[in-house]
Subunit: 374 residues, 2 copies
């Protein structure tokens, strides 16, 4: 394996577009930042697209350039792992609307010469998928061996066979849902209101002076972060344990470990993420309703595809609980699509898919190898 | 029944104190705003103290002076209801730290002549209960027939027999807990950070110029409000239904009904509640751990009392789930205290205790009448 294969190739492409959008407009040009791992084989049949979650990025298995942390899915993607650069040509692209190099509100609008900010069009999960398809066209990949994603990444993987039924052979959907619930929307709306309430937000036009709405974004992240963890997991990890000074301050400093943990999560997030991108991507997630896009019947979304499906949920995930995966499985059954579904046990709530999960890895490995054996 | 009995008597008293506080200091004087309904009987044996929740007030069964809305517990307290001014002398006092007339951060500090703001001492649930006991002393009531409360009101009712074992005969604890969990603390911390991130907060010193941190307080309320409702209840009430214009805006206005509902909840809250009070009361709730106050064993809290207990939880309450009530019941059993416990079915989550709940009313009515028959 070359160094490139091991660490991923950071790439960036400006495609002419236009990319037609669900909201009615079009985007041109379309910038896409992505990484690849491994080598495309001769018959171009080994490409796996990894789709990232709300605050994820293309650095799925390589070091994040800003935080210096290792890739966000090194437990699944890497040598000897289910998604393996030795066997697969792995692509992970920063989603449309994000802030890691793909077109988003922080991108320069060629018309004005300054960042789009809130003039960036509101996009959908399907728009993200269409942008990924444009990237595949650019790479000369007609058909994906598989598309794999968790959380919002799972929404994209579900949208793939619905939008491009001929272009994907296997679909792995982890800890995800076919539509955002009222509670999902509610939590996102709190986050958006926190950002917009920050006077530094200024209608999104904060790029010029280096004073972004960091306080609002931190609060948004804190609220969201609670939904990524289970109540039992929080109790196990933090309980009511106090900080080092070991006594209540009878003040408003972070007395409890959970408080300083959350504050840290909020603050560190603002170093690596753009507040406007947070608005746009949460909006795309809230708009997501795969059934609605197909006449109100989820099964219709899968009628045209011959892809195989693998669905995984976690028993303590209350953001996208198992019932949401089960609804997708029922729709796949109704559509006659082959699907395997497992609810995994984990104390870690929604975040479980990013953590050590040997059973998840075994299932995905078996599912992918079954496709390779054909 | 006189008009006074029907509508409640709004009262306000300034007690000299000092009120010794768990945080080490003392408060003097101690202002308490309260309402009473009904008449204290000759042997002073029919007094029921109603304890209110985080954002509640003393107007349990009478019109709120600022919002014009009827009392917050008119479904439980009133003529022909389980807590009935025809039989009971009903007292409801605004808790210490609040903003409806009892001593809190918005109260004038007699030392400085200006509002305490963040110089107000950090208080505990037990401090609230001690202030209520001072009020009872003032009213000449040695012993409560019963103390009744839900949510944070339930924390106070639990603290009553633990703090004043001889002064209460019956304890009704609804949708509550004996300690705040890591997840409970986490949600409150998000709210506090939202308030403190609002530049109008200014370290709490915002009373002079009529520019309170309303945006931050609204976000805090929105985040908290989600925890008061069940996922299923939100889905039933709002689902993914759009606002009147019936189409997605592909913008950031409130497209979904749940969004505008939450925004309204946040905004209207800022008309009636003080941001600093929100900080102080959430802190008191987060500090609440009745076992910790009694050597780490919850049963110890109830060893000295002869009170009867009635505990109620709701199956869809994920803020203080049934398991929390069950832990209290186990402790009461261990302490040899008589307790009846019922988990009620409701689609409405934590808020169920404030809504129409005939089964809850039947149980409380029976529990209170059993005490009166003695």
């Amino acid at each position: 394996m070359s160094d490139d294969q091991r660490f991923g190739l950071a790439r960036h492409v400006i495609l002419p577009g236009p990319l037609k959008l669900d909201g009615g407009g079009a985007l041109a040009p379309v910038e896409i930042a992505y990484e690849t791992y491994g080598t495309l084989n001769a018959d171009r049949s080994n490409a796996i697209l990894i789709c990232h979650a709300l605050t994820g990025d293309q650095h799925v298995a390589s070091t994040h350039p800003m935080t210096g942390k290792s890739g966000w899915w090194t437990r699944l993607v890497g040598a000897g792992l289910p998604v393996d650069p030795a066997r697969h040509f792995i692509i992970c692209a920063n989603v449309l609307g994000s802030c890691m190099g793909s077109s988003g509100p922080g991108t320069i609008d060629p018309v004005t010469g300054s960042p789009y900010a809130m003039r960036f069009p509101v996009i959908t999960i399907r728009d993200m998928v269409r942008a990924q398809a444009m990237l595949l066209d650019h790479l000369g990949i007609e058909r994906l061996f598989a598309v794999v994603g968790g959380s919002m990444g799972g929404m994209q993987t579900l949208s793939w066979p619905a939008t491009f039924p001929e272009r994907v052979g296997a679909v792995v959907v982890i800890a995800s849902t076919a539509r955002h619930s009222a509670q999902n929307i509610a939590f996102h709306e709190v986050g958006r209101q926190a950002i917009m309430a920050d006077p530094n937000w200024r209608g999104g036009a904060y790029y010029a002076d280096g004073a972004p709405p960091a306080a609002g974004l931190a609060v948004a992240r804190m609220a969201a972060h609670i939904t990524y963890l289970s109540e039992a997991g929080l109790t196990e990890k933090f309980g009511r344990r106090l900080q080092a000074r070991d006594a209540k301050s009878f003040g408003f400093d972070a007395d409890f470990q959970i408080e300083s943990y959350l504050r840290h999560q909020g603050l560190s997030f603002t170093d690596r993420f753009d507040a406007n991108s947070y608005l746009y991507i949460t909006r795309a997630m809230d708009y997501f309703d795969l059934a609605e896009e197909h006449g109100g019947t989820l099964a219709n979304a899968f009628k045209a595809t011959r892809a195989r499906f693998c669905l995984l949920s976690f028993d303590t995930d209350w953001l996208y609980p198992t019932a949401e995966s089960r609804a997708i499985v029922h729709a796949l059954n109704a559509a006659g699509a082959p699907v395997s579904f497992v609810e995994l046990k984990s104390p870690f709530g929604h975040d479980a898919f990013l953590l050590e999960a040997p059973e998840m890895n075994r299932i995905i490995d078996g599912f992918l190898r079954a496709g390779e054996a054909r």
